[in-house]
Symmetry: D2
Subunit: 130 residues, 4 copies
């Protein structure tokens, strides 16, 4: 398993970790009070960040399961299903389709007890190789 942490400013700030295993990426965050909203639950924006990262890394890996190709989010919809206030949340994502330029990805954020916190569906654009 390959683990990526603090790779970008936003990742270091929020503190989530990317775990890549067998061609799939997973996002892990241990919730603390820095991640909470006005109702003392996980902030919707932080949940969106984790789901965006889960989608983005899996879209990146879609070409060959190994190389992280540059992609950028075109649009993303998040459904906020249940509340979580502590513990570890894990985001997983799977590519549902796409072509030469666009990749479609669905994702799910799950709490330690298995309850689904949020789901996401996103469209990503492959950037020209740099």
């Amino acid at each position: 398993m390959r683990e990526i942490s603090k790779q970008t400013g936003a990742q270091a700030l929020i503190g989530y970790v990317i775990q890549i295993d067998d061609g799939h990426a997973r996002v892990v965050l241990d919730i603390d009070e820095r991640h909470l909203n006005r109702n003392d639950g996980l902030h919707g924006g932080i949940a969106a960040t984790l789901l965006d990262a889960a989608c983005g890394y899996n879209a990146s890996l879609a070409a060959d399961g190994e190389t992280l190709m540059p992609v950028t989010t075109v649009s993303m919809t998040v459904n906020y299903i249940s509340r979580v206030a502590s513990g570890r949340v894990t985001g997983t994502a799977w590519v549902t389709g796409g072509g030469r330029k666009i990749v479609f990805v669905n994702a799910e954020l799950v709490a330690e007890d298995g309850s689904v916190i949020a789901t996401a569906t996103g469209t990503f654009k492959r950037l020209s190789q740099r």
Copy 2:
């Protein structure tokens, strides 16, 4: 004008400020390297956080333009229109409709030069008064 900063863990972490003026809320963030993604632009998750906050505070204010009623995000879609890497971004939002329980809100995140960075459309649920 009323200014809210560091009210929640997530707000303190990311560093955005809420400005409430004349019944409307605005979200302001001065981008630094802690907010950037793998392509050195504003992270999509941070942009989503700002748009969620802009929508949420305006949904909160919708009842009477003054009281911040508790609301929670049901779903939110973000379109990522252009890239920004530095400077100040400002998020504004406006209620498009709703009833006793659900509030519909649209939002826009704009860079200093006036270019639209991202737009959002969200549905929020009014929580029972506490």
Copy 3:
């Protein structure tokens, strides 16, 4: 299996059939030229109609798997993954969560050859019993 056709004006107009089996609803449409768009593929609006029906009927059934409780769509996002121009398309949907008032549903529209045409994620509101 219970089959519903021409129950509403829109259903009769477009010609899709609802099949309810074992507590789950499925939407079936045999594409003809009345369903095509400017590029001679299935019209995005017709695909959205099928996905909305698939989500809605499954949200309706969510209470006890049998009674069709009244629900209304709050918001729906459709991702258009691939093109289809003829044959039968089938829409399935599954509830991902929800509470007393809101139901979250995901859906998928699949062509005869198994390719995914479109996916959807929606939020529905339970209406008061009539």
Copy 4:
């Protein structure tokens, strides 16, 4: 003003009219019982069809305000704000951004009395010139 009706199978079936004026497209539908859902309101799928058409035609016109360039919907989110059961509904849309390949469009469906029935936000892909 240029008026387009029955151009495609789906348009003839549902009966909406496209009006193009001064570089902008508008979609008009006179609701009758063929457009209604299980709750005797305008079917969400028909509303989505009108909003998709409004977005698509304006994305098509975005290049020069006159030529209808081929585009295809990548994703679309619809928020269902209020109910309408009869009369004329009008869909308008405006491009919010985009580049060489992707166009972002927002839309609104309004009833005769001015009330907003639904809003939409979509991403469209320009197809290679045929």
